[in-house]
Symmetry: C2
Subunit: 402 residues, 2 copies
C-alpha cells in the first residue's frame, strides 16, 4: 500500500536542528545507511525502548544515556541491527557514538545511537569510521529528509511528518522521521522513530508527552505479533522556539502533547500502510468495554488473529472469526450483547447474524476497512490499526536472507 495521500508538506526543518544522511557502505546496495540528527546546543531527551528482553547493543547504551535527560542528538545506521552481537557489539555502539561526538565537537556521552538491519552479524564499525567526516560535513538545517532516507531498511517509502503548534504566542515545530514496515521486514519488524522539536520542555515532561503519544500511535498498531530487539522512539527538544517552559498539567502541555501525538499517528499509520505485503488498512474501533485495558486487549486479539487477517485479505466479512477472537481474548464480554459493523454495515446485532453479509462484502472491497465492535457492557474504548495477511507477507518473510 502506498502512503494514503500527499498532504501539503508542512515545513520540515526545526530551528536549531541539523541533520544528514549518507551512504557509508553498510548496505551492500550503496543506498544511504548512516544518519545524524544534531541539535546546535544541548536538548532535553526522552526515549522509549523495546520491551523485548533481548535488547540490541545501541538500546542498552541509550537506556543508560537517556537518564541524563540531556543530549545533542542521535546517530543512526541501517543495514546492521547490532543485536545478538555480545560485548564487541556493545563496544561498537559506544564507539559509534564517540565517532559522532568527536567529529561534531559534541561532549562525550552526549550522542545517542540507534541501529536497524540484520541481527547476529558483527557490527562494521570501520565503515562508520570511514563515513563519519562525510556525515558531519553533510549536516544541514534541511537535512531531516536525508536522515529519513538513511534509516530505511525494507521500507517501501520514506516516513516523515511534522506539525506546528502555537504555544504562548510562539510557533513550535515538531518533526518526526520513522522506519518500519512489519509486513515486509525480512529480519525484524524494527520500528525506529525520532522527533526533533524546538519546544522548551524538560526531560521528564518530554518523556510523559512522548509516552502518551506513543501509546496512542506506535503502541496501537499491529503489523505482526513480534516486537524487535531494536525498537526505539526518541524525542529531542532544544527550546529554540523560546515558547517558555512547557510543564505537565498545563494547557500548553496538552497542546504540545496533541501535536506530538498527531505527528506520531501520521508516522504510525505510514508504517501500517507500508509494504507490498499489506493490501488493506484496518482500523479496529472497540467500544463498550469494562476497562481501557480490556478494550485494548480485545482489539489486539482481533488484530493479531491469523484467521481475521487472512479473511480481510480475501475481503470476507467473516464476523464469526471476529467474535471467536473476542471470546478467546479473555476480556469480560457477553456474546449476546456484542454488535459488530464492517465499514458501517452491521453484521452482528446482539451476538447474532443480521443477514447483511453480502452488503458487508461489498463495503469491504475498500482499501480501508473499519471494524467497529461494541461489547456493550462498559464505557471504555480503544482504537488500533493493523493490516491484512497476504501472499506477499508470506513471500517476503519466507525469502532466505541474502
Amino acid at each position: 500500500m502506498p502512503p494514503k495521500k500527499k498532504r501539503p508538506s508542512a515545513e520540515f526543518a526545526v530551528p536549531g536542528f541539523k541533520a544528514a544522511g549518507i551512504a557509508c557502505g553498510i548496505k551492500k546496495n550503496g543506498k544511504k545507511d548512516l544518519a545524524l540528527i544534531l541539535s546546535d546546543g544541548p536538548a532535553s531527551v526522552a526515549g522509549l525502548f523495546t520491551t523485548n528482553s533481548v535488547k540490541a547493543a545501541p538500546v542498552l547504551l541509550d537506556m543508560k544515556r537517556v537518564r541524563k535527560g540531556v543530549s545533542r542528538g542521535v546517530i543512526i545506521n541501517s543495514g546492521n541491527a547490532n543485536a545478538c552481537t555480545g560485548k564487541p557489539g556493545y563496544e561498537a555502539a559506544a564507539a559509534m557514538a564517540t565517532l559522532a561526538e568527536r567529529a561534531s565537537g559534541a561532549k562525550k556521552g552526549s550522542i545517542m545511537v540507534a541501529s536497524t538491519g540484520v541481527i547476529g552479524v558483527p557490527f562494521p564499525i570501520k565503515k562508520v569510521e570511514a563515513g563519519i567526516s562525510s556525515l558531519v560535513g553533510s549536516l544541514s538545517y534541511s537535512g531531516m529528509k536525508s536522515a529519513a532516507e538513511a534509516i530505511m531498511t525494507t521500507d517501501a517509502f520514506m516516513k516523515k511528518a511534522s506539525a506546528k503548534v502555537n504555544i504562548n504566542g510562539r510557533k513550535v515545530t515538531i518533526a518526526g522521521i520513522a522506519k518500519g514496515a512489519g509486513m515486509i521486514c525480512p529480519d525484524m519488524a524494527t520500528m525506529l522513530a525520532f522527533f526533533a522539536t524546538d519546544a522548551e520542555i524538560k526531560a521528564p515532561a518530554l518523556r510523559k508527552a512522548l509516552k502518551l503519544a506513543a501509546d496512542a500511535s506506535f503502541n496501537s498498531i499491529i503489523v505482526d505479533n513480534d516486537t524487535s530487539t531494536n525498537d526505539t522512539v526518541m524525542a529531542f527538544a532544544n527550546g529554540c522556539s523560546g515558547c517558555g517552559e512547557i510543564r505537565p498539567g498545563t494547557k500548553e502541555f496538552a497542546a504540545f502533547e496533541r501535536a506530538l501525538r498527531s505527528v506520531s499517528l501520521d508516522l504510525a499509520h505510514m508504517i501500517v500502510r507500508d509494504g507490498e505485503g499489506a493490501t488493506r488498512f484496518i482500523e479496529i474501533d472497540l467500544k463498550g468495554a469494562a476497562s481501557v485495558a480490556s478494550a485494548r486487549k480485545a482489539a489486539r486479539t482481533i488484530a493479531e488473529s491469523f484467521l481475521v487477517k487472512t479473511a480481510f485479505f480475501g475481503g470476507d466479512p467473516n464476523w464469526g472469526r471476529i467474535l471467536a477472537a473476542l471470546g478467546r481474548s479473555g476480556v469480560r464480554m457477553r456474546e449476546e450483547k456484542v454488535d459488530i459493523s464492517l465499514n458501517g454495515v452491521q453484521v452482528v446485532k446482539k451476538g447474532l447474524d443480521t443477514g447483511r453479509e453480502r452488503e458487508a462484502a461489498k463495503a469491504m472491497k475498500e482499501k480501508e476497512v473499519s471494524v467497529s465492535v461494541a461489547l456493550n457492557i462498559g464505557r471504555h474504548s480503544a482504537k488500533l490499526w493493523t493490516s491484512d495477511l497476504s501472499f506477499e507477507y508470506v513471500r517476503i518473510n519466507s525469502a532466505y536472507r541474502t
Copy 2:
C-alpha cells in the same frame, strides 16, 4: 502434508461400542456429515471444552450433561457448527440429542452432542431428523472409521488412532477419532476428538487421565493462534474389558494414561500435518526453563510467531527471530545463556552466532524440523508441535466462504 506413515493398523473396534457415519444432507456436497458413537451400556464420560467465552450450543449442552459422569455416547455433525445461533441453536442441540436417544433407546439426557462447520447459520435440525433412523440402522462394532469420516470438514485425511494396554492381565483397548486442520480451516480451527475405551474407570479418574493426555497433545499443538467456539475432547469408558477399576495414583492408572496419551498424540500430530497449508512439521523442544509454565510460554511464543513460521516455510534458519520471540515471551531468560539448534545443528551458543547457518539451512530442507532451545537457567521443559505459515494457508483462509 500427508500423515507421516502408515503404521500397522491396530485393531480399531472397542468391545461394547458401536458407531456409524452417514450423509444426512447438512453438507451440500453429499459427503458424510452425521456420526454416532454408542456404548451398549452406560459408560463413564469425561469432557474438555473450549476456553473461548463464545461457546457453541452443543458445548453449552455437553458442559451440563458431562457433570453426571455417565453417558451412552455422542452424536456429532459436520457442516454446521451451531455456534452464534442463540436460543434456537441451543434448542436444536438438545433436539439432536433427543433424536439420537429416542432412535437408539437410550435414556433421556444420556447422549452428548458435538458440531463443527460454518458458524452463525441456523442449525438444520430437520436434516438430522430425516437421517436419524438411517444413522442408528448403520451402527456396527466396526463403525468407528465411518464415524471418523463423518466428522471431517476441511480435513485432507481421516484421523483415527488406537492403542492396547494390558491392565491386570486384561487387554484394554483405546480408540480415538479426531477432526481438525487449523491450517486449512475456512471457518474455524475447530478441533474435535472422541475416545472410546473398554477400560473400567470412573468419571473423575477418566477426566484426570484425559486432561493429562490432552495437555501433552491437543494443548501442545499450535496451528494458528485461534481457539474455536466448538473445541471438544470427550472420552467414554464402558468397562467391558473387565480389567478392574482403574484408580488414580496406581500403576494401572499410569499405564492407562500413557496409552491414552499415545493415542492423543497420534491424533494431535495428524492435525498438525493436515492440510495443503502446512509444508513442514515443526517440533519445539524447550529446555532449561525456570518453570514448566515458562517453558510452555516460551515454546508457544516461538510457535506462534508469524516471522518464525514464515522463515520455516522458506527453510531459513533465522535464529534471530527465534531469539527475539523468546525475548518477547516475557519468561525469565538471559540472552547470553541461550543455545539453539535446528535439526541438530547448533546455530546459537550462549546467545551468539556459531557461524553454522549454511549447514542449518541444509538441515532444514527436511519436512520435519526440530527446534531445540536451551535457556540454561532452570530444569523445566516443554514440547510443542506446530507447522509453518505458507502461501496455501493464506490462500485457503482468505477464500470467501461459499
